[in-house]
């Protein structure tokens, strides 16, 4: 790796996270140049990033890598929903064939030093046979047969194959938990943005979130740190779905599993929310990943915990429910007047123990 600075190629810059990541990397002093690649131009400001319009599904990408003398490739153009790509077939094309082409090009690039792939914890699936926390060595208990999860598994397979064939390239696969944040649009965030949230009756899955800030940070960290391997990346702790919905202060409607799926399909065809089918598994059984290796080997510490990331996501969302809480707070407020203990009256209208009661 040249000391003059690195040349980083980022795929998937047309989407918000990719664009912001490319800009963030360009601001890094150790990086000389950032090349953003996508089939469509980015919609926002890309700053110092030089954009190359190239579809990673065709061999043009190999020429870009060689011509720009790229030494680090960050692959983050994995599409999780068919809605944004224009159909499941296109999505699969973009994900799987795109990755194959990109890896084929990388294999031919002699100057390549590092490959960072943004994967997802979806590879572990979601089933009642799942262990509480997946470590990186565990296989999914029930292999996903379709959709994004299957794409991710295939992509990771190709990445492993590439790592075998090019042992000189440092390959880092980051399995990110569900990315969440005020500006993220993903199946899960559009689910939580629904005014009334359908849940699977009788199930309360555990969820883990990764804040968008932490996703960008860990990708940058992976470029800089000389660590190869596969790492789970998630905020600390878990949130139950019921807990998350209550924190949003939105009403939840428990429905049978098939009805939730039906609602999701309807919403998708109505283009209200991008609800992916494999999300139903997550919303039924939940998933947890172990992040010990992220700390010990990768040396990355997320800024936001799962709960904090969710709170940051929930902050701009107006509550559509929360009547019970308001009622309780009113009762709690009116409580001191009922009995009027001397201390509370002396302190004034504000009740003395409302501090513990009032949360925000």
């Amino acid at each position: 790796m040249g000391s003059a600075g690195r040349v980083v190629l980022v795929t998937g810059v047309s989407r918000d996270l990719g664009r912001r990541f490319a800009r963030a990397v360009a601001a890094d002093p150790s990086v000389e140049r950032v090349v953003g690649v996508d089939a469509v131009p980015p919609r926002g400001d890309i700053g110092d990033v030089s954009f190359v319009r190239a579809d990673i599904r065709n061999p043009v990408i190999a020429k870009v890598i060689v011509k720009e003398d790229v030494d680090t490739v960050v692959h983050m153009s994995l599409i999780s929903t068919p809605g944004s790509a224009g159909g499941r077939n296109t999505m699969k094309e973009l994900n799987v064939i795109g990755t194959m082409q990109l890896l084929a090009a990388c294999q031919k690039a002699p100057g390549l030093r590092a490959l960072v792939v943004k994967s997802s914890t979806t590879v572990y699936g979601a089933s009642p046979r799942d262990p509480a926390m997946f470590t990186e060595d565990m296989e999914p208990r029930r292999a996903p047969r379709a959709g994004y999860a299957k794409d991710v598994i295939e992509i990771e397979g190709y990445v492993r194959g590439f790592a075998r064939r090019r042992p000189d390239v440092r390959v880092t696969t980051l399995r990110a938990a569900n990315v969440i944040g005020p500006e993220v649009t993903s199946p899960l965030t559009s689910y939580f943005r629904l005014p009334v949230i359908p849940t699977v009756i009788g199930h309360d899955p555990r969820l883990q979130f990764l804040h968008e800030h932490d996703l960008l940070e860990v990708l940058r960290h992976a470029i800089a740190a000389e660590v190869a391997g596969t790492f789970n990346v998630a905020g600390d702790g878990v949130l139950m779905l019921s807990q998350a919905v209550r924190r949003l202060q939105r009403p939840a409607v428990p429905l049978p599993s098939f009805a939730v799926g039906r609602v999701g399909t309807t919403l998708r065809s109505a283009r209200v929310a991008d609800f992916s089918p494999e999300q139903l598994g997550l919303l039924t059984y939940g998933r947890g990943v172990d992040t010990v290796r992220m700390r010990t080997e990768l040396g990355f510490e997320p800024t936001y915990t799962t709960a904090e990331a969710f709170a940051d996501f929930a902050a701009p969302l107006p509550p559509t429910g929360g009547y019970a809480d308001r009622l309780l707070s009113r009762v709690a407020q009116s409580l001191p007047e009922a009995g009027a203990p001397a201390a509370a009256v002396a302190d004034g209208p504000e009740p003395t123990y409302a501090r513990g009661v009032d949360r925000g």
Partner: protein, 402 residues
């Protein structure tokens, strides 16, 4: 039908048995003195009761009684000579009145408030205001989701406040659980409680949970079959109460982090065995629990539960329907489904829980878990210990219900 004899029904407001005849002296004695005030008053006695409004004198009471004394068919006749009766003390009670309220005028708000305050004092004691405030704070924490769960989804607050509080009376009053050998449970650090499994529905697990918590203050973290996490409602309750999937990864993870883990290695074979095979231990799985304990070096505490076998005596099974529903068995007990939901009430058998001496695993070699023969030996040792203790406890038990 004109000459049909008319037999009066009822007493027409008089004390007696409705024969229309004079009441017996015993019946008269039962009639309270104040009764006359509320009953249809004779003109004389009504004057008396309005004059001495609250406490009618003994004389008026006696007079009223005599006025009330009925004749054969003439209720107002006073000709009958009263049987002499000891004069009863005056009853200090105002005359009952009825006041018509407007149909929509409910209970006044002040009465509501007083009732609520009284209720709050009853429930929370004299310090009811801070108590109620903290309870409200708890409720608000729940509705706003402002509580913590651990990585397995264990919700300590709801487990302590609701699950344990619900199970405790069942454990203490219904099954009268007697716990022995609590000192064998380490006060801290990881340990593996291995128990026999019985009772058609895993009530024994729940009872072990609450018994261990009440005697040691520790939370038992049960390991459950994947069916538990597949079934709706059961799965969310299981995660909230601290359970996780019975697999090597979770068991080792929990034991390493110093939890008290409970395992029922017989699984469905134990819980769904017919009543005729009660207290005969089934195969102890594949010894996975022993391997987990060996790898983490925690002690194995054998637990023998007597009494759970009798709560739902399993006398039959509908395998075809069970297969259809994806269940391991569909139980038939003497009361279920014959009595419907009533058949779900467990029989009140007397329970004995005995924790045996811990079997240490930290003295064995590091590679012990990879030695199948050793694992099988330890498994058999645990199984034998539990079986022997079961026999001993059965000998000590007077009867199933005592």
């Amino acid at each position: 039908m004109g000459d049909a004899e008319i037999i009066p029904i009822g007493t027409r407001g008089r004390p007696g048995r409705g024969t229309g005849k004079q009441p017996s002296s015993a019946a008269r004695g039962l009639a309270p003195g104040a009764r006359s005030a509320s009953a249809k008053p004779a003109p004389r006695s009504s004057a008396g009761s309005t004059a001495g409004s609250t406490a009618g004198s003994a004389g008026t009471a006696a007079a009223k009684r005599s006025a009330q004394r009925p004749a054969h068919d003439e209720p107002q006749a006073t000709a009958q000579v009263p049987v002499e009766h000891p004069v009863e003390p005056p009853v200090d009670r105002p005359a009952a009145t009825t006041r018509d309220r407007a149909p929509m005028s409910g209970i006044p708000a002040s009465d509501w408030l007083a009732a609520i305050q009284h209720g709050a004092r009853e429930v929370f004691g004299e310090q009811w205001e801070p108590q109620l405030a903290s309870f409200l704070a708890f409720l608000r924490r729940r509705v706003t989701g402002d509580y913590l769960v651990d990585e397995y989804g264990f919700d300590q607050e709801v487990t302590e406040r609701f699950l344990m509080a619900t199970l405790r009376p069942i454990a203490e009053k219904w099954f009268r659980i007697e716990v022995r050998g609590v000192e064998n449970i380490p006060t801290e650090g990881g340990a593996l409680v291995v128990s026999n499994h019985s009772g058609t529905i895993p009530v024994d697990g729940l009872m072990t949970l609450v018994s261990i918590h009440d005697h040691t203050g520790r939370f038992l973290r049960p390991l459950g079959a994947d069916l538990v996490f597949r079934l709706p409602f059961v799965s969310s309750l299981a995660r909230k109460s601290g359970a996780t999937l019975a697999c090597a990864e979770d068991a080792e993870r929990m034991l390493t982090s110093g939890e008290l883990v409970g395992v029922w290695p017989e699984g469905f074979k134990g819980i769904g065995k017919p009543y005729s095979e009660r207290y005969k231990l089934q195969r102890f799985g594949r010894g996975g629990f022993v391997a987990a304990a060996l790898r983490t070096g925690v002690p194995i505490i054998p637990l023998s539960v007597v009494g759970a076998e009798e709560i739902y005596p399993l006398v039959g099974n509908v395998p075809s329907l069970a297969r259809l529903l994806g269940l391991p068995y569909l139980p038939i007990t003497p009361f279920f489904p014959a009595l419907g939901p009533l058949g779900l009430v467990p029989l009140p058998s007397k329970w004995l829980l005995e924790f045996g001496e811990p079997i240490r695993t930290d003295e064995l070699d590091v590679g012990a878990a990879d030695d199948p023969m050793l694992v099988f030996n330890v498994t058999d040792q645990v199984r034998e210990t539990i079986q022997q203790t079961l026999y001993t406890l059965l000998m000590q038990r007077e009867s199933v219900f005592k």
